[in-house]
Amino acid sequence: MHSNIFLIILGMGLVTYIPRMLPLTLFHRIELPPFWRGVLRNVPYATLGALIIPGIFLIQDDPVFGILGFVSAVIASWLGANVMIVVFVSVLVLTVYTMV
């Protein structure tokens, strides 16, 4: 174990904070051209896609696990369930699946 663990943690904190902080403070009043504003507005949807796929299908070696979690979350949210219900339903479905 490193004796300088505290310094490592500080360094990790710094390199994590800087990318989080720079755009919000530096681009404070910059007017981007419409095309790039559109691109930035697209970012959340694209990010969500990349956060979900392929991650959810790789949680377990068993592909059915991820597919089942994915499908139950999609169905629950498609039916208009709020976020808590969606999380609850998919965890429940998978708990049942891992029991049987």
């Binding site: 970012v43 694209a46 969500l48 990349a50 999380v87």
Partner: protein
């Protein structure tokens, strides 16, 4: 507004609990003290990076490499921060610098999908509850060190993904573009991660940028041809 933030953060706080408990547990087995474990969650506040750092620490990796890996993994927050900035109200700079600290995949997704603009007090509420859950559960994981029943723990690992899906689906229902953006980014991410073995942090950044630019380009082309007709 602060209360609205708290309300939208409850799901994140619950989703973080098992992840942070497990982190605390792993940190203990890696040999980190309770204080170091809690400090890491307080100072870094980035799940994936913290997990990987434990792995690297146990392998005896040098400080520079650990910090560099953390940077590469978390560079994606730059993009999220830039995107959030488009929706952010003109709060004073120090407030924005303060809530920027709490931008994670989860807080970003919830804030970005919120209707209307984003105020500092909303972000403070959202981050306060998520951050508290993360830090407190990291410490509890280290202290208690007890496992949840195996199958519950396994199925809880889907919680944050389910939250992402529940944020995305309503947008997809109202706007076809959202679906294309997500599917396109997901497909590129698969190629980058599974085939080209790009590190996870970069893979998310690259697939998000390519998808966001390409779809925007297609949309603008579509408008031009509409006007031309």
């Amino acid at each position: 507004m602060f209360r609205d933030g708290i309300k939208s953060g409850v799901a994140i706080a619950i989703g973080y609990a098992p992840v942070a408990l497990t982190f605390g547990l792993l940190a203990k087995s890696t040999g980190l003290s309770l204080m170091d474990t809690t400090l890491m969650s307080m100072i870094v506040f980035a799940g994936a990076a913290q997990y990987i750092s434990l792995n690297l620490l146990s392998l005896g990796t040098g400080p520079f490499e650990i910090i560099l890996t953390t940077f590469i993994l978390n560079i994606r927050h730059f993009l999220m921060s830039a995107s959030l900035n488009e929706k952010a109200e003109n709060d004073s700079l120090w407030k924005k610098a303060l809530y920027a600290f709490g931008i994670t995949d989860e807080t970003f997704s919830v804030a970005a999908m919120k209707e209307g603009t984003i105020s500092a007090s909303y972000m403070f509420g959202l981050i306060f509850i998520s951050y508290s859950s993360w830090v407190v559960h990291s410490a509890i994981g280290h202290i208690v060190g007890a496992h949840l029943p195996e199958n519950v723990q396994v199925s809880l690992s889907v919680a944050l993904y389910a939250m992402f899906i529940s944020l995305l689906v309503p947008a997809v229902k109202t706007e076809r573009k959202a679906l294309w953006l997500a599917v396109c980014a997901g497909a590129i991410n698969c190629v980058l991660l599974l085939w080209l073995h790009v590190p996870k942090g970069w893979a998310i950044v690259i697939s998000t940028i390519i998808s966001a630019i390409c779809i925007q380009w297609v949309v603008e082309k579509g408008k031009e041809t509409e006007y031309a007709q």
